[in-house]
Symmetry: C2
């Protein structure tokens, strides 16, 4: 540890009792035993410990140790990646997105519980996910009264710190000082004998909690130092297809305004992460919408431009997911947008109470959809995990309008993203209001299944797959039912692709 | 109309301005035009109009009229039945359970939107289900200030009355006077420019609303009179199988108490309707649980016995579903249990905010489950609608513990209710904590999919289907994945049954 690093750290550890708690990452890792459960900060690569996991991975490799790793959401190569590569993970929850870990999960080497992101804290509170042995939390600073100031995410850190037997703080001296004041930490009471309060978010921009995570000082075993910068995500520049999807989604929202169901302020907006979400945000900068509130899980690059453009007036989420360009200017951006951006625990951003109350408009990406509006968000071919359901289920069930977006085809057009029967259902059609592809949008509200199949095929399916989709429902309808299907052909498009390299039933590519 | 009926009615119409509004059912029906949307009271056969629908069905038959019928939930033969038999229904939502209507739905003659029961009111509020032309509401009385006192359900009546252009009251003179005071009508504000309040239910037994439904007097077009009694549901006496399921479910709850995750007061309880729910309630009367609060959708017969036994101290729901025996004593029961039973609008009983806050334990019946814990609640063979999802999704997503119950087999043992892949997913495994059959229970919490398959097969599948289930997952596991499947065999059990009269792959019965 460089003496310079330690010097910088001491000025950020403003709670005097903690200043002698600095230890090396290796020493902190040595406290971890086989079978322990760790609660780590981190969400979409932001706010995760960046030094401790490497030390733990080394120890795990040397001593054949496996641990359970609970987080906010996905972690990067220096956390999930290095742990997976060293076979250090027994059980992982509630979300991941790392290629090395994905491989471990799909081979059955690592167990993975793919959870609604608002559920984890409640399950920990109820005691059904076991005890948390160590919480490992990245911090930007420690306040005079011992509060941990998180960095670029809050995630599940508050519940980890509350319930863990021991806490390790990874103090990141390179984290912008302006992170302090951006967090709004509110922890619901345990369920039990005492009545619980309402979650007091009525206006998304209200502050309801503290600027940091309160911790029992006796539980803090050590402070590890880091100077690694925030981890950027890929920059998702719109391409022709994602731009069309964004245009179609915006056309739907404009129609809602036109018909008087929404105003130009829309309703609090949640958007998933990725290229379509980014294209929609870019599109909004040029739209007639204004004074929008964002009530999301993750804030991407576009959010700052939208605030500048007057389109967004306030944004709440639990984490950043920023490209290298925005990471570079983060310190000044945090200063500039102070009071317009806030980070809450994920159980609050994704809380069914808040989502239903404020009437969120939610849009998330589907891996595949079916002609009746069911959505697969997670499993390739119904078997192999891609990332996870994330918070999409928290929003989809309780939102005012639930939208799923996908390109109509994948793999150069050989796969139709809209199939007769999805191979895994994450969102049943009861929860799905609108489906958007680059072909158009299908508004499923107020429609029965046979009508839904019709408008999804007409508006969203790629032209090359329309005929075989119509043939399927024509023959299925002859057999009757509320949701006509031919079970023996439900997955025939997938099977044809596996055998012949295309879902086009009239073609064989192999 | 008998003069005696009218005389009785006048004493119940305590709002003087309404006393000259009495009309015949035929006259009221004559106001209904083709294509109109009607919002009717009624939930699990309780509280529905019993005279108006017959008159409407007659008119529909004579004039080839079709209407959209929105309700709380299921209606009986004199409402859904007679309307369906006369081809009077264009679109029906959000739930039904009538054999004649089911036939119309599955043939495609009537359109049916199977909705989460807390969603309908919000969708009406947002304007996406069109305008309500007439609300038709069964009443036990009309108060001095013009409030409609509902009968055995509240359902969606408050939102129908608020949003309808016209209101028809069907005053039921035979409804017990003691219905007055049992309702607690609270209507959330519209979403829009103004901030919404919290739903102020913290303790389930708190009263939050009015005793009746407030109505703009100018909208009340007419009052139809009825003296038909409440409609009883079948009496579900426990049999050997349902008793075993109940015992297994109670064993799970006892384990939760033993492990300190619940106390003997459990947590507010929601139970579905039917034989298993009734067997569980009967079993509870002899259990060590006490002072339980019921936070349910429907109250069945057993609830009164449980209050007598000191097991239940308070029960809130939106409707009764009672057998003939309990209907016979309803007037005195309502008096006796006043202050211990309350009926709220279904958007409040099923509100995600309330369910998450109080931490409901939810149990509902599955039509089929799969080895990974996905639940089909609605579609036979993935195609034909049975009843609907009802409120199970409102509870399952947001409850503290979500339990699904089913017998392990059906059709005399030829069908396994637990299959490799359900033919329709209403509840994705993210929402399912525990599955119970007469064989045992499987606690899925904190388990990954491969483990889930193991314990469901071990604990819940019928012995005669265990071997073929194990063979399926063994071969599926070889192909890898988070959720191993063989897509070409996913529905093979269903297909074998269709061809050979049994799901046992080694047998052929036809």
């Amino acid at each position: 540890m460089s003496s310079n690093l330690k010097e910088q750290a001491v000025s950020k550890i403003r709670f005097k009792d903690f200043q002698d708690k600095i230890v090396s990452a290796d020493e902190a890792a040595s406290w971890i035993e086989d079978g322990m459960t760790l609660g780590m900060s981190g969400f979409t690569l932001f706010g995760e410990p960046k030094v401790f996991p490497g030390a733990l991975a080394k120890r795990a490799n040397e001593h054949k140790i496996k641990v359970n790793v609970y987080t906010g959401a996905s972690m990067g190569p220096d956390a999930d990646g290095v742990l997976a590569e060293n076979k250090a993970i027994n059980l992982r929850l509630p979300y991941q997105g790392n290629p090395s870990l994905r491989k471990e999960i799909n081979s059955g080497e690592a167990k993975y519980i793919d959870q609604h992101l608002s559920h984890t804290a409640e399950q920990i509170r109820q005691g059904v996910l076991g005890e948390i042995d160590f919480a490992i939390i990245e911090a930007a600073a420690i306040t005079e009264d011992g509060q941990i100031i998180p960095t670029g995410s809050v995630g599940n850190s508050p519940i980890f710190v509350e319930k863990a037997k021991n806490v390790i703080i990874e103090l990141n001296v390179s984290a912008p000082a302006a992170y302090e004041g951006i967090h709004d930490v509110y922890i619901p009471k345990d369920q039990g004998e005492n009545l619980r309060d309402a979650i007091p978010v009525y206006d998304i921009s209200q502050r309801i909690g503290s600027i940091g995570i309160k911790v029992d000082p006796a539980k803090v075993r050590g402070i590890v130092l880091s100077d690694r910068p925030d981890i950027p995500s890929p920059l998702f520049e719109p391409n022709e297809e994602t731009q069309k999807i964004a245009d179609n989604l915006l056309a739907f929202l404009e129609k809602e305004v036109e018909e008087g169901r929404l105003t130009e302020k829309l309703a609090p907006l949640q958007s998933g992460v990725g290229s379509v979400a980014n294209a929609v945000l870019s599109g909004m900068a040029k739209s007639k919408f204004k004074d929008i509130t964002v009530a999301s899980e993750v804030l991407q690059d576009g959010i700052f431009d939208l605030i500048d453009a007057g389109v967004v007036k306030f944004a709440a989420a639990t984490a950043f997911s920023l490209s290298a360009k925005r990471v570079a200017t983060l310190a000044e951006d945090l200063e500039r947008y102070k009071g317009k951006v806030i980070f809450r625990p994920q159980e609050i951003t994704n809380h069914p109470e808040v989502i239903r109350r404020v009437g969120v408009i939610s849009f998330n990406t589907a891996l595949e959809a079916d002609i009746y509006g069911n959505i697969n968000s997670t499993h390739v071919n119904g078997t192999h995990m891609m990332n996870g359901i994330g918070g999409s289920g928290d929003f989809a069930r309780n939102a005012r309008i639930t939208i799923f977006v996908t390109t109509s085809t994948a793999k150069g057009g050989d796969i139709s993203a809209i199939v007769p029967f999805v191979t895994h259902v994450d969102h049943a059609n009861h929860d799905v209001d609108v489906i958007v592809t680059e072909q158009g949008y299908a508004d499923l509200r107020g429609k029965a299944p046979r009508e839904i199949a019709q408008i999804i095929i007409d508006n969203c399916v790629h032209p090359k797959f329309k005929e075989q989709a119509r043939d399927y429902i024509k023959r299925a309808n002859e057999k009757g039912g509320q949701t006509p299907h031919i079970l023996s052909e439900a997955f025939s498009w997938h099977e044809h692709y596996a055998k012949h390299g295309t879902m086009l039933l009239s073609e064989k590519k192999k």
